[in-house]
Amino acid sequence: MAQNIINKIWHSHVVQSKPDFPDTLYIDRILLHEVTSAQAFAELKQRGIQIRNKQNLLATVDHSIPTDKNRAVIADEIARTQVDTLRANCKETGVTIYDIESSHQGIVHVVGPELGFTLPGTTIICGDSHTSTHGAFGALAFGVGTSEITHAMASSCILQDKPKTFKVEFKGMPNQYFTAKDAILKLISVIGIGGGKGCVIEYAGEYIRSLSMEGRMTICNMSIECGARAGLVAPDTTTFAYLQGRQYAPQGDAWEQAKTGWNALVSDAGASYDHEIMIDIEGAGPMLTWGINPEHAIALSGQTPALDAGGDRATLEKAYAYTGLTPGQSLKGTPIDFAFVGSCTNGRIEDLRAVAKILDGRKVSSRVTMYIVPGSEQVMAQAQAEGLDKIFIAAGADFRMPGCSMCLAMNPDKVPEGKRCVSTSNRNFIGRQGPNSITHLASPQTTAASAVLGFIASEESL
């Protein structure tokens, strides 16, 4: 029977399956960061259980670390305890950790792929909902809670009910200012924040095939924002070209053998899915969010929705009250105070290059504070090698050290109360970037153009 890639990966990882019981799913890769791993280590220790395959674990620090030059000094006591605990746990158990100044530290979802730790056909978990990023490589990757991290560390398995499968196909040719970020915002605006509940999405179609690995990661990253458990893209030559020669990727004969296996992962012709949707992007331009969750996304050329446009009216009212906007208005020209480029959604080299292209020879508006935060030390080094850092600094942006930074108000980088930020991150929830801060999610290009002009605008307006 014709099978889709999601089911192929699932079936090849089921260790045990019994009626009325969840499947026992084998986990190939476990990614750790400082916020959600401590209790897992503690429980194993308390129960006297060893990590089953410590070579399948990889840790780094990202969420709660500062991103200033002096980042080794963590003022916040809880953050410091979390980071020190992870360091001690890794040292004690022999788990590989890419700590600051290791040249590979960074946001866990940026680091995994760039080390070739993320491979097609693997199952990957991490105590972070944006683990879906790794799906860009044709991996089944999802966020889990601390209990499941413990389970996987001890047994290399977790218990999971088989997800439903959902095929999302982008159709048509968008305009030149449309990016992967705009594609995922468009999808979420169509199917809603619960539209992918219980499903793993396969992103397909010519548009997806045309994207770089960075673009595919941006799309898979935000799968969770429509409620999906994971999102993935079948591997192809773009995937292989990205992975070849990376530290943990197979080498030599093993590489050729692996590629044969990865090619076989592609969904069979005629494979069926539980759900399918076609998203028309013909002629589409940049998107951005106006409200308080990622489904509140509109075309930058469009207007904010009427209160009776559908959806929950109370939520829309709350969103307008919070963002200080009104129904039926254009977002273009709305003054902004902050611009943030970074995060596991858009903190990769391609994103920084796109921003540099816009900032080159221009200045960030005097009313705007702009943070550009590379997703990893590797991204930072590459940006420096290409001279992007000089462009950022000349433009008046703050080019910072790698970490999650202003995405989640869990470290010193926050948007102040009442301030408006155009951000390349993934969540525009109330208070996400700081108490009472207002977030507009957008592409790196839209963020950079808005930073230059001092108000919401697309690259086209420059």
Partner: protein, 193 residues
């Protein structure tokens, strides 16, 4: 894990709808990097604010069964809420309904949750508030719960029942599959790094 077959215990009647996880374990107690030490903080804010709060009453506070109303465990997803309840000594929570996330967190930690019709719950809460000596019996094998001379059946997930009766938590259950996992690994050795 301790096996759960039958339990007879006095009850702690918590006469509230929408008991949220912030009430169960306030945020200031979440700083720990260990999974222990939460029991003493269970409902700490309510205990502090209301001297006659049910857990401040010696006649009730040793019960192993918590009785409450609708949408128990709503709010933040913190798994600490389940740990706090268990570490306090409570082995079962009986309510008219539970929030989804709390339900899943409880399942992962072998905290038995039983849902019963609202009328039954209200009646039982009133009765136990009037008489602190009333004991409840839960027979998980038979999926029966008895109180005030009445016996009701309750629904329970097959897998979760298997785990509780055999004293397995998810991790024990996974580790019991050691042979299958090893066999799997031998067949799929190409996946490891």
């Amino acid at each position: 894990m301790q096996k759960f077959t039958t339990l007879t215990s006095p009850v702690i009647p918590l006469n509230l709808d929408n008991v949220d996880t912030d009430m169960i374990i306030p945020a200031q107690h979440l700083k720990s990097v260990s999974k222990l030490g939460f029991g003493e903080h269970v409902f700490s804010a309510l205990r502090k604010m209301y001297p006659d709060f049910i857990l401040n009453q010696p006649a009730y506070n040793t019960g192993k069964i918590l009785l409450s109303k609708a949408n128990f465990g709503c709010g933040s997803s913190r798994e600490h809420a389940v740990w706090a309840i268990q570490q306090y000594g409570i082995q079962a929570v009986v309510c008219s309904s539970f929030s989804d996330i709390f339900f899943n967190n409880a399942a992962k930690n072998c905290l038995l949750l039983i849902s019963l019709p609202e009328e039954t719950i209200s009646k039982w809460i009133d009765a136990s508030l009037a008489d602190n000596t009333l004991a409840m019996t839960i027979d998980l094998e038979a999926q029966k719960i008895s109180f005030m001379g009445e016996t009701h059946s309750f629904k329970y997930d097959t897998f979760r029942k298997h785990c509780l009766i055999n004293g397995l938590d998810d991790l024990d259950y996974l580790l019991s599959q050691e042979k299958d996992i090893t066999t799997y690994e031998q067949k799929h050795c190409n996946l490891s790094r």
